[in-house]
Structure formats: structure tokens, C-alpha cells
């Protein structure tokens, strides 16, 4: 799973802490999410997309390993 959360967050002028508060998670979760080391739940992906004013598909994309 790859994402462009960091680029979209910076474009909206949000800090990691602010995004964490808006999505209801800890800042560490946002850090690992941006690094691609954590695959969010559908709920968190939806909240993130809503805060960043984009669709889930615009932010998250799945790389097929096969």
C-alpha cells in the first residue's frame, strides 16, 4: 500500500499533530502511515481522505505484488 498523505497534508498546511487530532489517532500513527509502514483501517482511511478533501483512491493505492 502506498499513499501520498504527506504531500496532501503539507499542501493543506497541516502538521502531523493536527492531522492526528482531526482523524482521532496518535501522531505516531500518522508518522508510520506517511512512511508506508502502517496500513490504516477503512475507517481511518476514510477520515484521512475526508480531512484532506480527497477520495480514498486519490490518497491510497494498492500495489499488487503478484
Amino acid at each position: 500500500m502506498i499513499n501520498n498523505v504527506k504531500e496532501r497534508r503539507l499542501a493543506k498546511g497541516l502538521t502531523q499533530e493536527e492531522l492526528a487530532q482531526l482523524t482521532g489517532v496518535r501522531r505516531e500513527t500518522i508518522i508510520f502511515l506517511e512512511k508506508g509502514k502502517y496500513n490504516p483501517s477503512l475507517r481511518l482511511a476514510y477520515k484521512t481522505a475526508k480531512v484532506l478533501e480527497a477520495s480514498i483512491e486519490d490518497i491510497f493505492s494498492f500495489e499488487d505484488e503478484t
Binding site: R26, F32, R43
Partner: protein
Amino acid sequence: MDRKAVRISFIVVGLLYAIAVLALATFQLVDYSFAIITIVIMCVLFSFGLSGRLPLNREKPDERTEGLELKSLSYSWLLTLYFVCVLSLLDHFKVVSLSGSIVLPAILFFMIISRYCIFWIIGKTGENVQ
């Protein structure tokens, strides 16, 4: 009760407990196994005290933290099972002579330490918990 009050109360209880045990040990009223159990209980009190959390009224962690906690607890139980197997073998083949007063606090201590170590390791490496 807010987190600060919980933290202070647990630290105070832990310190009082430590002072009491030190006083008992000074007058040789406690033995070795009791001292180990006391250390384990103190570790639990201090760990709850320092984090300012109680198991029952703690604030709900976010989804990643919750996943990490569940995973670290599962691994901790599994490692403890292996630990008990090793202790059983050691006792069976008379490598060491173990009694309940040694094994029980050792298991308690191992479970607590391994849970925190695994939580820290998984949290740092960023392993996907989904």
C-alpha cells in the same frame, strides 16, 4: 480521577511498599522469594503509575496502538509458554532445582518485561499490525 492523580497515587503506594519491604528485610523478617514477588509488584505499580493509566479506566488507544498492544500481549503469552517449557525441562533433567516460590515470580516478571519489550520493538520497527 485524572491521570496526574493516578500517577502520583501509584508512585506513592510503590514507594511506601518499597520502604516497608526494606524495613522488613533489614530486620530479616522476609525471605528471598517474598522479595522477588515484591519487586514484581513494585514494577507493576510503577509502570501503571508512570504511564498514569489504570487497566479499567484508561483512555481508549487509537487503532494502531490497540493492535500493537494486542500483538505484544499475544507474543508475551507465547514466549511465557516457551519459558515455562524450558523451566520444566531444566527441572525434569535436574539441571536446576526449582520451587514454586521461584518459578511463579519469575513467570510474572518475564510476562511483564516481555510484554513491554515486544511492544517497544514492534512499535519502533513499524511492523504492520493489520
